[in-house]
């Protein structure tokens, strides 16, 4: 039944760090995402395949994997975008996200990604109580605009997986953690900046970034961690020169 052009040759990573690629034949359909392909393998060919997904529609950030060498959301990546429209033996190579420990097959351990989020103090620190009047924040204010430009991160890990500085420097907090920290640096309601800037100015903080801009190119939410990190470099440098940071 399946003709040569209606089948995909799909290599999926199996095992842990020392695993290998295993190839499967998956029927090609007209509107098919990478997640559809992985799901087909698990449901119809090999139920032992491990992978992660949730919403399937690009709002949760769970399904990110390395697709033909590039970290992407598999639910929003159409096969045709990766292998083109006409195919004779189209090849797909799908692996787990880079820079993270592999639990099994296509699922990675995101613990260190979120630990770095905490280390960058990407947590709101309230400066008022419930008894104070609600603070009026204008969405048009410069600080709020700057915060909003970086706020839509859904922690998918694509930027972290694509960052070579993360790969080379195990201390580096990474683009996502730093971008989130910037939204709080710019949040006038937040009172945690002294500790936050201290954390970001330390080894592994924003200054480790070399502006490769892979994060900015890869982010499926069109965020710009490179620019966010540049802003943090300015803020921390100013704080340091004013003596606000412990040396």
């Amino acid at each position: 039944m399946p003709e040569a052009h209606s089948e995909l040759s799909v290599s999926l990573w199996r095992g842990r760090e020392d695993g290998r690629y295993q190839t499967y034949a998956v029927p090609r359909r007209e509107n098919q995402t990478i997640l559809d392909v992985v799901t087909f393998v698990q449901r119809h060919i090999d139920p032992t395949l491990s992978y992660r997904f949730a919403c399937r529609v690009g709002v949760c950030g769970s399904c990110a994997m390395t697709v033909n060498g590039k970290p992407r959301w598999t639910c929003r990546t159409h096969v045709s975008k990766v292998v083109g429209k006409d195919t004779g033996g189209a090849q797909l190579e799908i692996g787990p996200l880079e820079n993270l420990p592999v639990i099994k097959d296509l699922a990675t351990d995101m613990a260190v990604f979120f630990a770095k989020w905490q280390d960058a103090k990407g947590v709101f620190a309230p400066s008022k109580t419930r008894h104070d009047p609600i603070e009026q924040i204008s969405p048009a204010s410069p600080a709020r605009r700057a915060a909003d430009a970086a706020i839509e991160c859904i922690n998918c890990g694509v930027c972290y997986a694509g960052c070579d500085t993360v790969r080379w420097n195990s201390d580096y907090l990474g683009p996502a953690a730093l971008t989130r920290a910037l939204t709080l640096v710019n949040d006038v309601r937040d009172g945690g900046n002294p500790a936050r800037l201290q954390a970001i100015a330390a080894t592994g903080g924003c200054h480790a970034c070399h502006s490769h801009q892979s994060c900015q190119e890869l982010c499926p939410q069109s965020l710009n961690p490179t620019a966010a990190i540049a802003a943090l470099k300015r803020r921390t440098s100013a704080a340091y020169l004013k003596g606000e940071l412990k040396r």
């Binding site: 903080g205 340091y240 040396r247």
Partner: protein
């Protein structure tokens, strides 16, 4: 890399940007003219301006190169920590010493 090293790295870089442009102009002039040692020394000997210009340049490059080399080693090799810091400080000092010696050679000769 932390905020302190970053500031030193970027400040020396910004300082050297115009110095490099001038230096390239000097290179072009000196090499095109086919300057001999006598020609060079007659221009540099006793010159406060040459000494000041290249003195600042050498100091800046020693700091800048040391921090840059530190980054490369800590990211691309297993060499890290206190040992690396000592190594790059020695490297920076060696550059400064050799550089100031070269300036002395040309200005005080």
């Amino acid at each position: 890399m932390n905020v302190r090293l970053y500031i030193w790295q970027r400040l020396t870089a910004a300082l050297m940007a115009p110095l490099v442009l001038i230096h390239i102009a000097v290179i072009f002039y000196a090499t095109h003219q086919g300057l001999s040692a006598a020609d060079i020394l007659s221009r540099t000997h006793g010159s406060v301006i040459w000494a000041a210009f290249y003195g600042i340049f050498v100091a800046a490059v020693a700091i800048h190169a040391a921090i840059g080399v530190r980054n490369i080693f800590s990211e691309w090799s297993p060499f890290k920590g206190r040992g690396l810091d000592v190594f790059v400080i020695l490297f920076g000092m060696a550059l400064a010493i050799l550089g100031f010696r070269a300036i002395a050679a040309l200005v005080l000769a």
